[in-house]
């Protein structure tokens, strides 16, 4: 792969939000690949790194809104781990492949699309910068 965005989506929030985006026919580019997880807190740095090793253009971790994680601390941990992964990537000189953590509610398909567009924009910008 080289243009795909790998998105780890929490089944309590982002996954249903993505479903809703489809139901509402809010079209978005085909390069998104969603991996369903029980909580954003399941995702660790190694999953993000492996996605990049396989050639992902960007990685997203999407979890519940602040203060509303189904598992209390999963989304805040995910945020920390994404930050940590960014550091791990930066220290090996990989700064052109964006990784981001966003919080959204299951009924926010528009936010889901916004996050996706933002990520695609970042991919484009970092490619151009290169």
């Amino acid at each position: 792969m080289n243009k795909e965005i790998v998105a780890f989506c929490c089944e309590h929030s982002a996954y249903p939000a993505a479903d809703l985006a489809g139901k509402q026919r809010l079209c978005y580019p085909q390069n998104l690949r969603i991996i369903r997880v029980p909580c954003a807190g399941r995702i660790d740095a190694i999953h993000i790194l492996k996605a990049f090793e396989k050639g992902a253009a960007a990685v997203l971790v999407l979890g519940c809104e602040d203060g509303a994680c189904h598992h209390i601390t999963g989304n805040t941990r995910a945020k920390e781990r994404v930050k940590y992964s960014e550091m791990l990537l930066k220290e090996v000189g990989i700064d052109n492949r964006p990784v981001g953590m966003f919080n959204l509610a299951p009924n926010e398909p528009h936010k889901f699309i916004r996050v996706l567009n933002e990520m695609n924009k970042r991919i484009k910008e970092s490619r151009e910068a290169k």
Binding site: I46, F52, E53, L89, V92
Partner: protein, 219 residues
């Protein structure tokens, strides 16, 4: 428990620069518990190195393995076959584990991926603090169980320095309680302040002759 932290990536990259086949070796004891050299960190570091080298167009292949205690020859010897396959080993064990590995596999370059920092304990999840300096001449019976040798920034034995900040905080870290302030509070609570009033002679800094060696008496 021995606490360590990962070396700066630049340093690691430089060490392994000439090699294209590497064993990343973790240790399942102290460094696993302090989140720096267990199976998980081995995976992360190996992945990072592959990413780094792939970006440079100079691919590296990695093997990953974690043994129970890298400082035990018998346990580390299990890695023999894997070591034979690679050009060099990057060890995430403490300095002791790295040297055990080096002694076992004399013909292979063995590199440390972590800096061994101190003997400590977890203050909370993910935060470790130094507790023991392994001085070989334990003083804790006189200080309410708090070691002024490592927990006082200056290692003072006869009370706090004049640098103690307002509220009994350490001169160099306003977040941290002055060790002597804690010692005072605890001894006071135990009614043993007389221990603090006593004069203590300069410490024997050579209680452990370097290099240290401990011979057990029982057989």
């Amino acid at each position: 428990m021995i606490i360590a932290e990962r070396k700066p990536m630049e340093e690691i990259k430089q060490m392994i620069a000439p090699y294209n086949k590497l064993l990343v070796a973790g240790c399942g004891t102290c460094v696993t518990v302090c989140w720096v050299g267990g199976e998980k960190e081995v995976g992360i570091l190996a992945s990072q190195l592959r990413l780094a080298r792939s970006a440079e167009g100079n691919e590296i292949s990695t093997l990953e393995a974690t043994v129970e205690r890298q400082c035990e020859k018998e346990m580390t010897a299990e890695l023999k076959d894997k070591v034979a396959e690679v050009e060099a080993v990057l060890s995430l064990a403490c300095g002791s584990g790295v040297q055990t590995m080096a002694e076992l596999f004399e013909d292979k370059p063995i590199f440390p991926a972590v800096n061994t920092t101190f003997i400590g304990m977890p203050e909370k999840e993910g935060l470790w603090v130094e507790m023991c300096g392994a001085c070989g001449d334990c003083f804790l019976d006189r200080t309410g169980g708090i070691c002024p040798m490592v927990r006082c920034a200056k290692g003072l034995l006869n009370g706090p320095c004049g640098g103690t900040r307002k509220g009994g905080k350490c001169e160099i870290d306003p977040e941290k309680d002055c060790a002597w302030e804690i010692i005072y509070r605890w001894l006071e609570k135990q009614g043993r302040l007389d221990l603090m009033r006593k004069y203590y002679e300069p410490k024997n800094y050579r209680a452990v002759k370097r290099p240290g060696k401990v011979q057990a008496m029982q057989a």
